[in-house]
């Protein structure tokens, strides 16, 4: 599998996915 960080699109999409994951992690940590 190609490294997504080799392309700008892959980098931005990875950042957006990480944002969603961390958002729900933060909600869970805060007991929402």
């Amino acid at each position: 599998m190609k490294n997504p960080l080799d392309t700008l699109t892959g980098t931005v999409v990875s950042g957006l996915v990480l944002t969603v994951v961390l958002y729900f992690l933060a909600r869970a940590m805060m007991g929402a």
Binding site: N3, L5, D6, L8, T11, V12, S14, G15, L16, L18, T19, L22, Y23, L25, A26, R27, M29, M30, G31, A32
Partner: protein, 169 residues
Amino acid sequence: MTMDFIQYGLGRWLHIFFGVMWIGLLYYFNFVQVDAMKAAAADTPPTGAGITKHVAPRALFFFRWAAVGTVLMGLMMLGDKVDDALFFKDRAYMPIGIGAWLGLIMFFNVWVLIWPNQKKILGIVSATDEVKAKARRVAFLASRTNTMLSIPMLFFMSFSATFHRSLLG
């Protein structure tokens, strides 16, 4: 001039000033310079020497010191709440804690992975072609990792003040 003004007024202002410079230059490298250098290398003869000699070292200077300014001002703003944020002790400080950790990882990447390898690539320290090729890959991936991390980092930095309130509402 009160301590609050220094900590939250000047601190936030300078945190944003240095942060814009840091992330702005990070985006310049990733969105502009990487592809521009590839195109310049494909020219006959190659035309990227001016960027390597005059632009990149100057950009890297402001890039790495803006990272220092951003982190210092961020820590100053957190003040005695720094452990609540970084160790997730207080619910209200969890979002900014996540943002701060992302920023600290990025800071580590700048000073431990990007800058030492860029010194080899730019010829500031001597290196063989093989070492330079490896340094180029490490610096590139660290820079791309920071671009990726900057997306959630900016989300948590900008939303942290109202995150807690939004969950209550």
